[in-house]
Amino acid sequence: MDLSRIDWSAAAVELADEHRRTNAPRARRTLAAVSSLRGRFTDEFSIAAAATTAAMKLEPLDPIHAVRDALVRLRFGDPEAAIARLDALPEQVGDLPLVLVVKALAAARRGEPRTARNIADRALQVDPKNAAARFLYTETNLAAAQKGGLDKLAELPRGAAHDAAWADLLAKLAILRPGDLRAVNQHLGTITKGSRAEAVARTVAAWAAIEPAAAAQELTRVIGTLARDSRAEQVAVGLFVGKLGEPMAAARALRILRDTYPDRPAIRRALAVVLTRVAVVEAGNEKFAAALRAVQMCIELEPHEAVHYQNRAALFTLMGEHDAALDAWAELDRHHYRLALVGRIDARSAMRYAAPHRMFSQAARLAPFPRRDGVFVLEESKSGAIVERTLSVNQESLDKDPEQLRQWLHHSRAALTFGFLGLGTARDRVLLAPSTPGVAEARAEGACALAQSLAVLVPEEGRRLADKLVVRFRAAAEGAPMHYVPAELDADALAVHRHAVELYAELALICIEWEPDPGKRGTFDEVLDSVRAVAPLFDERVLEAMLKDRADDAPPHALRFFQRVIRGALEIDSRELALDQLQKQQLAGFLIAHLRTSLVQRRWDEAEGTVSAHELEQLVEQLDIARKDNARVARLEFWAARLALAGDYHEDCAAAIARFHAIVDGDHPMLGSIEKLQHALDERKKTGKGKKRDGTSIAATGPGGDAKDLAAREAELETQPTSMHLYAELCHELGLANRWRDAHAWAARALARCLTPAGQVRARELGLELSGLEALAAKDPGAVASFVAGARASALGALERIPSGDSGLEYVRGLALLAGDRRAEAQEAFRTALARCTRGIYMAVLRPLATDIEAAVLDAAKQEVDAACAEGRFADAFARLAERMATVAKPEPYLIELARTQLAAILPTLGTAQRPVAPPPIRTSAAWRAELAATEALDAYARTRALVALAARVHEPSVRDAAALGRKLDDLEDQLAMAAALEESTKRATAGDLVGALHQLADLGPAGDRSARVLRQRAIVLLKLERYDEADAAVHKLADVPEPLAREFGKRYPSLAFRQRLATATNLVRAKNFPGARAMLDAARPAGVDAGAQELELAYTRAYCAAAEGYKKGEGGDREGARVLLFEALRHVEARLEQARTERHERLLELHKKLETDLEHVESR
């Protein structure tokens, strides 16, 4: 049977089906055999590995499946995994000859001939006649030694059955030990003459015999005779390249060969290998320029190979070409991100991508001694003979080169992101075993925020990769379970967690020690963003373990410092650190508040206390924001008091001093300073009352100022991070304040955070608009102010004075022209913008505008109409639509807007006597104008329906919206019918016509069954009618209605039903229907918050029922029966007597008294 012609997939599926159906041992064995054999006949590793793994699960005791699994690993080039699989077999199985042969083969492929020989030797001890083991032993024995061992060849079996093995052995020997070619040629006679095996062996031996001087010429000749991409070609190229001499000579020969055979990938690959060897040699000789030339050629030959980009970047760095090196490393990152985007994101790849980021992060973190230009610096302090080295923030270096801090930040974040990526997708690994769903979610968001650095480091690919990772991290957090016992992390996950904690500790050092430059707000924001991103990843147990593991001579770190900060900030005295989620939030808030205070302090110090009143107020606002992050920072209150005093805000100053004392509660280094402030305040108070802070300054921000409302908006955005409206406002304000870089940064954040399709479009529009506005601001800031204020058309004058510019400027020009209703020119501007656009993300914004201006006009009209409707200006909305429909070439899309507006105009008039606003007569030349005109005579409902139908008929894209609008109308009409029915039902129920009330609710259809109000009314009426089962059914339906009313009534219903049952039972007792009353009481179940009181009422009613029945029997002369029943009543009453006394249930107490008296009377007779 030709196994290569089996449809293995079909066989596996059908046999699996048979196994499932019959569950017979025979079916299982066959399925296992076919599954593991399938591993041999597929080129997909995932299929092969899954098939053999399935076989092992089916037949765990049959070692052949483990052997086949190992063979699969070998086929796909993973000898380590093959050996691991065979090592896992039980000892007695592991010694089977087949297992040992496969293991020896794997060891040989791993490049360990000695180990392979020893394993093959073991196989021969077990089965001395095993031919494969004998050949393998001989082969590995010869490969392990430089010479000798040829005598073993004579011991090998011969004959046609062994031709292939001989050919294999001799050809390999010819390659590995060219000095033994003579022996090889002698033994070639062992192989059957004229066989294909002999031909292969002789060919290889002949190639191996070629002298190096003739190698280039021979290779040229030989290659021409071999099939392209064949194994023979690969062997020939591999063999001859080794004979071409030193790398430079080999490269020359291969370049000539490549010119001869330009279509041979094997030659190209060999040339790239040899050129890389040239680069290695030249770099080793410090001839970096020559090495770079070779690497550049490699990139041209193999543009997909990351190592060439890495070599180029390394060479530029070694050459000291700073700018070129930065570009080259950026190019390597881009290449890595592209690989990740096409799916290469396994653990090993992630580690490779992280490596350059780690390098840059470390390079920026701490410069090697004696340089002092990193983010941190080692400070030495001597205490006697002991020199202590501590990590400190390198303020001087950061002021000189603030980009160092950004380098450290973003590369650390990127390295951490790839660390997470390398952990796979299993929740407990990728989110570091979160203890609760909340922690999982917070960690996922932290990881998402960290990933945004990829977009900073490599704008296009990084953005796309970050988007992809956001989805991945958030998916990991979905449905996270509770862990009541902390889960143990494996070594890799723990390493990532430690990295995160280490980064947080160093960020804490930055927050406490760094004095941020107020002129570089972007960097300050990036630090805050990083603190917020890393904070959810913090785990104090990891910190404690790291501190425990760190040796005394370990390089200085910030962990001990961080531990002190945690204890100080959270006022923890206990020996062990154990933080809850709230404390972790407070910690992050403390760090952020500290850093913000430092920003204020530096600005104040730099200005030497001479800031304007407006700026002073802005600084105080910054402290207010900081206080929201953490209200227990003493230093913050000191600065709040100091600035308030400077501004003559006596009350604020006094409040800040009071807060300081409340926080400090004892000794503090700033206590003396705060007392001085208090003294100064007291002195000031003697001369005047002081001022109040201007609360209106938030809205009064103009260009040129670092406005306080910006800080407020930033803070607001932290709480509403997906509000596009806020981003647009903030970016515009920043632009007006000439802080374009910050504006772009916020627009980029909007792009990263607003992930809905609409949010993405808006964010892209914002980014594009900002770029145009920045160009416009350079010429005319006033025009930007007008544009941003909404008067876009007024910027046209300024725009017309500016020559055509980049895509952003042309986009803004288009918007202004559109606002001025100059549609043709607007479209032309958008076309120019599209033609000049170099960034893919903006194409989605520009393409529709450039191709169809009418759509943009429609969008603008929709916005105006929406705004008018939102403010109740329906007449304006109709007027705008009428005007547009009269002027545009295609008025069809406006019909659905007309219908929507009509519906919006109906809603406010519901329940009133008002008539909805109607559209004015609309002049259009469309073919359907007569039908449109006919709608004018209809009432508002009918007109809306007619417009919906017309829109669906004449404008295909509106069909979906029309259907939705139609459904809305149906719903509205259902709602109106229901409201009328409910009103009537309530009226009838109040009048005592319960049957009539129920009847009103009968024909409301499925909508009635979904309405909480209807179901509630139905249940109440049914209860009153004492139709309890039907009432229960109505309430059961209510459970499916997601409305607060339904939930509220659902909770209240059991109590209502109980009381109604008691009332019914009481009526039945009065009617002397005692069995009926007892049945009703048995069905009554106390429930709800007043269950105790209900129990009491139930006991009373039971007692009342028994007593009434007893009295009736007594009246009928049945004294014994009466006695039994009165005692029963007494038992019910006495069981609740205490409660009745407490709750003053007079009826029960009275009944008790009466029963005692009557029973005494009965007993005495």
Binding site: M1, L3, S4, I6, D7, W8, A11, L37, F41, T42, L71, L74, R75, L98, V102, P113, A132, H162, A164, A165, D168, A171, I175, A197, A199, V200, R231, V235, G238, G242, A270, A272, A279, G284, A291, V295, E302, V307, T317, L318, A325, A330, R358, M359, A364, P368, R371, K400, D401, E403, Q404, R406, A455, V456, G522, H744, A745, G767, S771, R839
Partner: protein
């Protein structure tokens, strides 16, 4: 036009000469066996020097031995080396590396290609030391029952087979 740009500090990327590889005088790309051999040779030389000087030995030999011990702890074992390399990626990144396919041109790899060539020429039924050969997959031949089952799925061509 975009958000914050990639950081471009003025400060050059510094090459740390104080790393374990440069102290040992080895390439960061060297195999673990090479590193072990180098460490052993250097330690042997330092011990010999100390023995030769006897009482006259200065502290230099001792310091060398202590430094070699520290280097061994950092990169002398595969796990320790992996951790060290992860923490100090600069060493490997700033070393010009051979192409990933370089090893494919080693004689041992070329030799192993001969087996694949023979399988291509003679078919998988031949007894060759190659994981594609049937004798490794079916050492006792194909079981009759399995063969009967598989016969139903024999086709003239199939995408999955090779």
């Amino acid at each position: 036009m975009a958000g914050p740009a990639r950081p471009r500090p003025k400060t050059r990327l510094a090459i740390d000469p104080d790393n374990a590889y440069s102290k040992l005088g080895a390439s960061p790309l060297a195999s673990i066996d090479e590193l072990k051999r180098l460490l052993s040779d250097k330690r042997g030389a330092a011990l010999a020097a100390r023995r030769a000087k006897g009482q006259a030995a200065s502290g230099d030999e001792e310091a060398t031995i202590i430094e070699l011990q520290a280097i061994e702890a950092q990169i002398g074992a595969p796990a320790a080396r992996a951790a060290y390399d992860r923490e100090h990626p600069q060493n490997a990144l700033l070393t010009v590396q051979p192409a990933p396919r370089d090893r494919a041109f080693e004689p041992a790899r070329t030799a192993s290609l001969v087996s694949a060539w023979l399988v291509e020429e003679l078919g998988p039924d031949a007894m060759i030391l190659h994981p594609d050969c049937y004798w490794l997959w079916l050492p006792g031949g194909l079981d009759a029952e399995v063969a009967a089952q598989l016969a139903q799925y024999a086709t003239t061509t199939t995408d999955e087979t090779k």
